[in-house]
Symmetry: C2
Subunit: 870 residues, 2 copies
């Protein structure tokens, strides 16, 4: 849909559209222009045009070329130059810019407008022949690669050959004549590859470049990135056509990137990199290692000060950490881009807390703009600070967190082994966008080249993965599949540990420890707690997990599974006796021996959660899970029992409350153990635990009706004083549909969305992941893994029905979720919207859930999360 | 709830309640009384009283005893006799009578009111001392058995001993003195067993008898019967207290049962049995084999004529075949009961058609009163009429249909082996209500004793099971577990065949053939076709099944499964090659070889169904089902593939449309074969088949979106002329919930309620039946097997949501059902209510479905099905 019939807007005219229309880059350029910040002149071709182009089978929308021509003409007027002019040519860059930033994913072409005549005009006009031919050879290479798909290596080879011939090491050592020769060579390469000469018509160059940007939206690597980052496929990209400014005009020129605060720590102060006499691509590609930003002071003191002032203005304007690209041409500063900076979780927290202190943003805004998914990285293990580690090499601390794994030397291998469940560290000279599939699967990334803003560093920070970049002690022999780290020779498959927080690289594995929650994190979580309505509980089966969960702020246990207690080494033989029992008496005898163990387990958990609710799920898995595999069974009687218990689809078999109805003595024992434990803990500590007894896999009200009666009768035999609730998991579609009837026998519902997803979708998780579900995600049949993010429109709608009907039958019934989705931000937002009382997740995800719950509440009241780094 | 504060009604006063309040027997007695038909005086204690009694923990409701006393007093006035009077005692029978007939399930006590004094008064008053003591000994035995639970064998033993002592064979040969001695013996037995003398107080007898009837509602055998016949447990029974009339007063007395039409064939005319000088229990229990009704003419010509007239009146009044019990006392006729007669399916059809011819009922009523479930028996195999069979013995053709199976000699064994899946014939001297669990599991029943109205015969007809009763050539040695049939000695476990339609018993197995649909059946089905809205299709995978289905009136095929075609011996090796293929090319090569086979299959089916729609489901089962078991795999490569394809829960794994998306070449081949077959058949026959291509197991709209595209692309490659629809099974809860989105890509939906039940309930059918589901049904957690009768409130509500949302998105979308429920009457009624377009079921159930569909339409328009024999 076209906003108002136009596809193109100058930077200095209002478009009426935001980043959806102009893309992130375009909207930034337009806003900066309108703020009076120095930006080269130019215009944006909107995402509407791209969408039209894709819809029409890669045909430019009618009228677009004319519109572009008109705006180009205006640009010519503004600059006093003419596109393709042999005397005073206008040069432009063509840069993609989607609504959501996809760094390195889309393509850029610089110096458009040069041809055999214009290059001479540029040489004459600037008095810098070397610069003119350097620009021209860059154009031919970029254009050849991006528009016509020529292998970059063809050009690089020619460049290397020339440098060898001239016996120089750096590009800058080549003379104007050398570069003129290189241009001839490049043009020949182009003609050899494409079958026609490099286009001399500047209009044709521009038109084909715009198409190429549009086409690049659909390259496989862009698609992979979008899938990994959950970006819709139909957004499309805008194209920015920007007057060229030149950072490669000599010592008074250069290019750089800068952050208004340190994107790794969030600390205020200078943070950036600068490369003198270079164009931007040299920085981003990590080909030359740049200097620190402060290096500008050497030759460009005034410009440096202007840059600092501009950065301050931008941060005040956007009220967020900005990540800018700039170019200095003969001492004159041009901003080429500004955007909210991608940052580490630590930095995001620090910056948010500081900005509240600086009164730049409110607490609500601070809470809203932290990406809960990113916090995960803070909750990952770190290298044990007390461990003695021998550091083999050091690199840049590009993305914090520690990782330990086997070395792999290319992205394909990383993907393969990562998917197979191995922890791998991807070790590369440098990474490129083509490595994205390997980066996704790697536990950590180590590169020899590139700085803090190199591809590897940026992507790793975005993903919350540990990364050490620019590690000079690293060399790789890709043919031999070996590497050296600080002189030690290793082979692919050897284990290393990297610490992205400090830049350390260690050969071998190192003990990792859970991280502490720092002060900023605590502050944000405290604010979040004031804002959220959803309570957050943890899934915990042991006193240790319960204690950890409480430390992370859990407000109780939403799911305490009892089967792990049955699996413990000292109990399994008794559990097996129980299963093998030839009658109820024998079964009860075995259960009597299990009872004290169960009671002990519960006592520990109740103590750790004193004063908070603890939901205990009675035995759930099919009994055959407690028996050995058939081939390991010792005697014929056990083999017979194993065979009798075998099931075609154990997921849908004799488990959950079906066990409790077939052999009530099992649940009776468990209820007895719970009540005795509660009484003992109350006596010992004076604080009564809030016990919630939960029956799994109920599908029919009559099941819960009977189980409730058994539970009450047993509990009353044990104690008259212990208070407890009786409830059920809602994990079958039928339970959702008949939640009204079931509610009559339940004090609470807890949605078991793992099993509910399996049954509602007919997806056995064991059989789907790695098989058809993986293919579905790869092929885009599904956008997201429904076991990771709640399938809102399917499973979620069943939940909605259950909530409506359950509350309809029993107004105050307590509602929670204890599936893995309870720790996933989008699913938490959905649960908030449903009106659940709490979510329950693994202890390590509790902080994330607290934040996500607050954001859901904020979103409801109109405070939208800012996509930090978006 | 008490209608108006009363618990007791005389037969001649209006109660304002029907059979729910008075029970079937009570309402019949009241109506007959009010019609002026001779009925003994009496009153009914309502089912309300029974329900109160059960609710109050087996305490009679307050005031009930007084109410009974009042009505008893009125009865005394009416008869001029006094209860417990030593001179002219009033005797009553106490008979249970529930709203729905439960023959043999509930208990009856005759001759209440007799005691040591009254028996003398009865002797004096009737001048028949033998009769008086015969009545008394019957009372003591029945009361002892029913009220106090004394083993009948104790009394029978004493009777046998006395007969041996007196050297007589028949009870009637015993003299008055003999019977007086027997009464003394019976009283001693009673006192020995119970610890106090037989109660002499008539009021106490009555009060305890009423409680005993109430209690008998909850005996295990009554519960089993109710479960088998789907009768609610909370209906309760009424109690009828009826003045005794005596069939055992001599040659001018007797008792009998009669039907207004033959309950086996439906033919008009006399049908009944009579036993002179006997009480009713002698007939029902099958202890003495009665004579044909016409035997009455011998001594009771006038009474016989009066009986015929009364039967005609009753049939005209009730407009249905009546089953009556009567007693003749000294030539005077008394009707004791009338009810709609249980009848065979053949009889039900014949009677219904005749009554329409006789203008007694309308066509709608005729259609409404046939029990579709009962028709099943007509659609069961019969003995091949051309087969030469050697008849070992003959009995009564008590319940039609043929059955072949292993002999079992007791009900427990029948139950055990039947549940284990064996076909067994239960062979007994006679059956009693205690055998009910064995009758349910047996394929057929053979008894040595008893007539057409014996327990075995009545129950078998009700269940539609073959039964040969009263087979005189049969003897059983229960200790030796052997039997002889017509002199041939057999052992338990040997195979016999019975033909319940002719009474033949054959040793060994005999070929059975499918039955023909007779003229009455055709007539009823024609009427049904005029009345129904639902179309009826068949599930058929072969041309033979398709032809049979069409013969039975199927209006197309609703489900043609293609996997059976893959399993055929000549194809399986190619299918395995396809599965083992190392790449797409190899796989396509194997599929190319399968294509002509598939095409041939489809051509046969299209020809059989020319002009009618045929829904073909593309491949559904997981591929490992086509591979041998791991231990039988020949080489390591196959073992590897089997292991790779193994699934934890195949039901929820890589099957259905997931196959079609992972390996599109499989569905492409199938679509190609379908389109080519359609084109070939059209060319050959001039009639284009109506092809519907169905994708199984769709859960997400995107799946069908892509599959539809593949289907269309492939079909268009093959033909431009063949028309076809593309649709999907709705067999996952998510598909129901998102039917709106899925409908956008579907021309039709077919509910696959087998899988939908499995996923919605989390019941793997393979793992549930015989395991927890069986226990659920036994224990009453579930009333009905959800795989047999649709779980309306759960699965049915999901279907309702799917219909609403599917039609909401695409108004005219065609909707059907192809799960097994499509052939089950209650489920068909539900589908009618949902507004589906068709049901599809197995070919043999098509007639039943046609009828059930008509009844659903009738019910909607207010014509209720009469419970034939209810």
């Amino acid at each position: 849909m076209r906003g108002n019939g136009r596809f193109v807007y100058d930077f200095d005219e209002p478009s009426g559209g935001g980043r959806e229309l102009l893309g992130g880059k375009g909207v930034g350029l337009a806003e900066m222009t309108q703020l009076g910040i120095p930006v080269p002149a130019g215009f944006t071709v909107t995402t509407d045009a791209c969408r039209e182009y894709m819809r029409n089978g890669k045909t430019l929308p009618s009228g677009l070329e004319e519109e572009i021509a008109n705006h180009l003409h205006a640009l010519e007027e503004k600059t006093g130059k003419r596109f393709g002019d042999p005397e005073n040519p206008l040069l432009v860059s063509v840069r993609s810019g989607a609504a959501i930033s996809m760094p390195g994913m889309m393509d850029t072409i610089l110096n458009l407008g040069l041809n055999d005549e214009a290059v001479e005009g540029l040489a004459a006009g600037t008095g810098n022949r070397r610069f003119a031919y350097d620009s021209y050879r860059r154009l031919i290479q970029m254009y050849g690669e991006v528009v016509d798909g020529i292998d970059a290596e063809r050009f690089e080879q020619a460049l290397r050959a020339l440098k060898e011939e001239r016996n120089v090491k750096q590009d800058v050592e080549l003379t104007a004549d050398d570069l003129e020769e290189l241009v001839r060579g490049f043009k020949q390469i182009y003609e050899d590859e494409i079958g026609r000469p490099f286009p001399q018509d500047a209009g044709e160059q521009l038109s084909r470049a715009v198409r190429a940007v549009f086409d690049s939206w659909e390259t496989p690597r862009a698609q992979v990135y979008r899938r990994a980052n959950r970006i819709a496929d139909d957004l499309g990209t805008a194209v920015n056509v920007v007057q060229m400014v030149f950072g490669n005009k000599g010592a008074k020129s250069g290019t750089g990137v800068a952050f208004t605060r340190d994107p790794s720590t969030g600390e205020q102060g200078l943070y950036g990199e600068f490369l003198a006499d270079a164009q931007g691509e040299d920085v981003v590609a990590g080909i030359r290692t740049p200097e620190r930003l402060e290096a500008m002071k050497r030759d460009l003191g005034d410009t440096f000060d202007e840059l600092l002032g501009t950065m301050r203005r931008l941060e005040e304007h956007y009220r967020d950490v900005q990540d800018i690209e700039f170019t200095v041409e003969d001492g004159r500063l041009y901003l080429l881009q500004t955007r909210s900076a991608k940052r580490t979780a630590t930095a995001a927290l620090k910056a948010a807390v500081s900005m509240v202190d600086e009164s730049l943003i409110t607490r609500e805004e601070a809470v809203a703009r932290i990406d809960p998914g990113q916090l995960d990285q803070l909750l990952h293990p770190m290298i044990d600070p007390d461990a003695k580690v021998e550091v083999a090499a050091r690199g840049l601390n590009a993305s914090p967190g520690a990782a330990c794994g086997k070395v792999v030397l290319d992205a394909d291998t990383a993907e393969e082994r990562g998917k197979a469940g191995q922890d791998v560290i991807l070790v590369r000279w440098e990474t490129t966008p083509d490595d994205i599939h390997g980066l996704i699967q790697a536990a950590g990334i180590l590169t020899a080249h590139g700085g803090m803003t190199s591809h590897a560093a940026v992507v790793a920070r975005g993903m919350g993965k540990p990364c050490v970049a620019g590690c000079e002690g690293l060399t790789i022999n890709i043919d031999a599949r070996t590497l050296t780290i600080g002189g030690q020779k290793l082979s692919e498959g050897d284990v290393i540990t990297i610490d992205g927080g400090t830049g350390r690289v260690i050969v071998g594995s190192v003990d990792l420890v859970p991280p502490q929650i720092n002060e900023d994190f605590e502050t944000i979580l405290d604010w979040a707690d004031d804002l959220r309505r959803l309570k957050v509980r943890a899934n915990a089966d042991t006193p240790e997990d319960a204690a950890k969960a409480r430390e992370f702020g859990a407000q109780g246990i939403g799911l305490c599974r009892t089967e792990h207690m049955f699996m413990a080494e000292d109990r399994l033989p008794v559990v097996r006796e129980m299963i093998m029992a030839s009658g109820e008496d024998e079964r009860r005898a075995a259960l009597d021996r299990l009872l004290p163990h169960q009671q002990g387990d519960f006592e520990g958990i109740f103590e750790a959660m004193a004063g908070l609710p603890v939901t205990i799920r009675l035995l759930d898995p099919p009994l055959h899970e407690f028996l050995p595999p058939l081939e390991e069974a010792k005697d014929e009687r056990m083999r017979e029992r194993i065979r009798a218990l075998q099931e075609s689809n154990p997921m849908l078999g004799t488990r959950g409350c079906r066990l409790g109805l077939l052999w009530p003595e099992i649940y009776e024992m468990q209820v007895r153990a719970i009540i005795r434990a509660a009484e003992a803990v109350e006596k010992r500590t004076g604080e009564a635990p809030l016990v919630e007894i939960m029956h799994p896999l109920v599908g029919f009200a009559e099941e819960l009706h009977r189980l409730r009666a058994i539970t009450l009768a047993t509990a009353n035999e044990e104690s008259e004083s212990v208070e407890y609730l009786v409830g059920t998991m809602i994990e079958l579609p039928r339970a959702c549909i008949r939640a009204d009837e079931i509610a009559e026998h339940a004090d609470f519902f807890s949605f078991g969305t793992n099993d509910l997803t399996q049954t509602a979708l007919g997806f056995s998780r064991d059989d789907a992941e790695g098989k058809f579900l993986t293919r579905y995600l790869e092929d885009g049949v599904l956008e997201r893994n429904p076991f990771e993010t709640l399938d809102r429109s399917g499973v979620g709608d069943l939940m909605r029905i259950a909530v409506e009907r359950g509350r309809g039958a029993k107004e105050g019934i307590k509602l929670g979720i204890c599936g893995e989705h309870g720790g996933e931000p989008d699913s938490i937002a959905f649960c908030h919207g449903l009106g659940l009382d709490y979510v329950s997740c693994s202890p390590y995800r509790v902080p994330l859930a607290r934040l996500a719950a607050a954001q859901a509440a904020l979103k409801e009241s109109g405070v939208e999360a800012v996509s930090a780094g978006g």
